[in-house]
């Protein structure tokens, strides 16, 4: 079916996953992402080659995903902030075992139990590996319904290609909001290439082993450097961002996901007021678009970072900018969703103080 | 024994559980909606029209059952009741 459909983000993600050939979902309820497992439960109930299992916990879910991935499936799990914290050990194992897996985090207000409103407080956890050891998770941050669809398809492709966990990082609003979406043609899982690591019985071949225990330090070091090389390749090959009205911009606002679409509205309004402002929106949070932003930092006078948190991505921005221009931060944590007007005001005042004091003072 | 209940109509959520447990059929859902948008329960004195409605005994079944602790029950002390035993 080509036509546009109006669907909420969680359902878009579920449908896109199924069309990407995902036939194994393991999860545990948590607001604001319950509509995703509910969608999978309903759809998979109609299919005979698909597994939906509500696990006893997030811990169990991520480990079931690990097993399903070992068995060769395109497997996924989803949760929200506290539940994602519980998956960190498992994610570290999946990364170490170099297994493909897709993990969805629809962030909510935190820390702790917090609330169920949209938030972006899990950026560090997602991009710096909340789990133990040197590993990276590919992190995709959709800002529009259609992007949820496209990035979900891509998530499964990247997971298989690089044998690495991929996280789709959204928030309550991304998950609940409905927008028109056009879905791609479905992939038949049977048409996907056989994965050489698959554990399906040592028939007519040597036994296979999937593990992360490497008591020999030299072997462990070797794994670590192999992963580094893989991560470097990923950084070269998939880093992605949207740049909006940046060509003549003197001030650029950097934001991702929900915050980015609101920031774009702010840029709009500011432009109407004649301010030369633009938006830089990372679509991959890891790998982060350091080069593109570094280049931009050479042409603009100032950068404002906007997050629905007290300031996390701002560090990546600073790592990219390396002091070439002042970087300031504007944040609304705890589930507050700013209005485009509010961002326009922020841009205006930042714009006017641009010439005067302008050191990189983040919140 | 003679009794009476008071229902806090703003606390009541109109779940109707008290109605099902009252042995004397002394409770009904009232017509006017409360601030929260619920139709609360209301105490019903016996009257000719509804023979099944008997005198409330203050047995407290309703209050014990009320999830929202919206019911308070009053009962005549032994003596009082005896003095009015055949009303």
């Amino acid at each position: 079916m080509a036509g546009k459909v109006l669907m909420r983000g969680t359902h878009v993600l579920g449908e896109a996953a199924i069309r990407a050939g995902c036939r194994a979902y393991f999860g545990y309820p948590i607001t604001p992402q319950n509509e995703l497992p509910e969608y999978m439960a309903a759809q998979f109930a109609k299919m005979d080659d698909a597994v939906f299992l509500q696990a006893e916990s997030e811990l169990a879910s991520i480990n079931m995903v690990m097993g399903a991935a070992m068995a060769g499936a395109r497997a996924m799990t989803s949760s929200s902030s506290p539940g994602i914290s519980l998956k960190q050990e498992g994610i570290s194992y999946i990364a170490a075992m170099e297994l493909p897996a897709v993990i969805v985090n629809m962030m909510r207000g935190g820390p702790g139990l917090g609330n169920i409103a949209p938030s972006q407080g899990d950026y560090f956890q997602a991009t710096r590996g909340g789990g133990h050891g040197d590993y990276r998770v590919i992190v995709l941050a959709p800002a529009y319904g259609q992007e949820i669809c496209d990035m979900t398809r891509n998530a499964f492709e990247l997971a298989d290609k690089y044998r690495n966990p991929v996280m789709i990082l959204g928030d309550g609003m991304m998950g609940q909001m409905m927008e028109p979406v056009v879905f791609p043609e479905p992939i038949d899982p049977k048409s996907l290439p056989y994965k050489e690591f698959t554990l399906d019985g040592a028939k007519g071949r040597p036994k296979r082993l999937i593990r992360s225990l490497l008591l020999d330090m030299a072997m462990e070091e070797e794994l670590n450097w192999r992963l580094v090389r893989k991560y470097e390749a990923i950084s070269r090959e998939i880093v992605d961002q949207e740049m909006y009205m940046v060509d003549d911009a003197e001030l650029v606002i950097v934001a991702y996901g929900t915050a980015a679409r609101i920031a774009k509205g702010g840029v709009h309004r500011a432009r109407k007021m004649g301010l030369k402002v633009g938006l830089f929106r990372p679509k991959t949070l890891w790998p982060y678009p350091y080069e593109a932003l570094a280049a931009l930092s050479r042409s603009v006078k100032k950068i404002v970072v906007f997050e629905m948190s007290t300031g996390q991505m701002v560090e990546d921005v600073k790592l990219a900018v390396e002091g070439r221009c002042p970087v300031t931060f504007y944040g609304r944590p705890g589930g507050i969703v700013s209005t485009p007007e509010e961002i326009a005001r922020t841009l205006t005042s930042a714009y006017h103080t641009m010439q005067t004091l302008g050191t990189a003072g983040a919140a | 024994m003679k009794g009476r209940i008071e229902i806090n109509k703003e606390r009541c959520k109109g779940c109707g559980l008290c109605i099902t447990v009252c042995p004397k059929h002394n409770i009904q859902i009232s017509q006017e909606i409360n601030a929260k948008g619920y139709y609360p329960a209301a105490f019903k004195e016996p009257d000719e029209q509804e023979p099944e409605v008997k005198q409330c005994t203050g047995c407290s079944m309703c209050a014990i059952t009320c999830p929202d602790v919206a019911i308070e029950v009053y009962r005549e002390a032994k003596d009082e009741s005896s003095s009015q035993s055949d009303e």
Partner: protein, 245 residues
């Protein structure tokens, strides 16, 4: 006439946020009445984890500690071990105690922690909007078992209380329901015995209470009560499971 039924002292005089006909409300009142009657309000600490009843801390007039989903037994253990002279109770839903919190619950019971667990079994995940719970019964429709729970696919309802009966450290475990004045009175007795077991330093005590969730069952409060009595009790029979207190 004199007042023969009124609100317990340990229950703060404020409206509940629970849905009409929700069992949590009744159970809150019963726990408060027991705390009043045992005179332990000033030394009791309640531990409600995530769940519809996480806001229980707004209703009980005792010290309250929120716990992460599933970890009430561990948090309560930490409190009780440091303050053995206090009375510590958890107030957990089926999802909390019998799914994500299985390990913490089984081990607290097996260690014989001197805590009392109020286990509210409403056969569903209430707070999150009606997903399948470990206690959802076969055939029951939930948002994650849309065609009804199929044990072969979705697993069986878990007899947690029976399992805890095997735990060496548990001394009192009873399953009741709050679907009738009789059941409510029995439930209160059970809660009182459970707290008494802790006061007497006997061991771990738990009361599993079958409790209506009209909202997620998509039934009226009155029909919900009937469903508990006619359907749910077949899988979760009302009974004293263990009593060595």
């Amino acid at each position: 006439m004199k007042k023969v039924f009124s609100r317990p002292k340990s229950l703060i005089d404020t409206p509940f946020h629970y849905c009409p006909g929700c069992g949590h409300s009744i159970i809150h009142r019963l726990v408060a009445e027991v705390i009043d009657e045992l005179g332990i309000r000033e030394k009791t600490i309640g531990v409600p984890p995530a769940g519809c009843a996480v806001l229980a801390y707004n209703y009980f007039d005792v010290d309250m500690a929120e716990a992460p989903h599933g970890r009430a037994a561990a948090v309560a253990t930490g409190i009780k071990r440091v303050r053995p002279e206090k009375i510590v109770f958890t107030y957990q839903g089926d999802g909390d105690i019998a799914a994500i919190g299985t390990a913490e619950t089984v081990h607290a019971a097996n260690r014989g922690e001197r805590i009392t667990a109020i286990f509210v079994n409403n056969a569903v995940y209430g707070m999150t909007g009606g997903q399948m719970a470990p206690t959802t019964i076969p055939g029951q429709i939930t948002t994650t078992s849309p065609g009804g729970r199929v044990p072969l696919r979705d697993g069986n309802p878990l007899d947690l209380s029976e399992m805890l009966g095997i735990a060496a450290g548990s001394v009192y475990i009873e399953r009741t329901s709050v679907t009738s004045p009789k059941g409510i009175i029995r439930t209160k007795k059970a809660i009182k015995k459970a707290f008494q077991a802790q006061i007497d330093d006997k061991g771990f005590s738990l009361v599993e209470i079958l409790s209506p969730c009209p909202t997620n069952w998509k039934l009226s409060p009155v029909d919900s009560v009937k469903w508990v009595d006619n359907v749910m009790t077949n899988i979760f029979p009302i009974k004293v499971i263990k009593d060595v207190a």
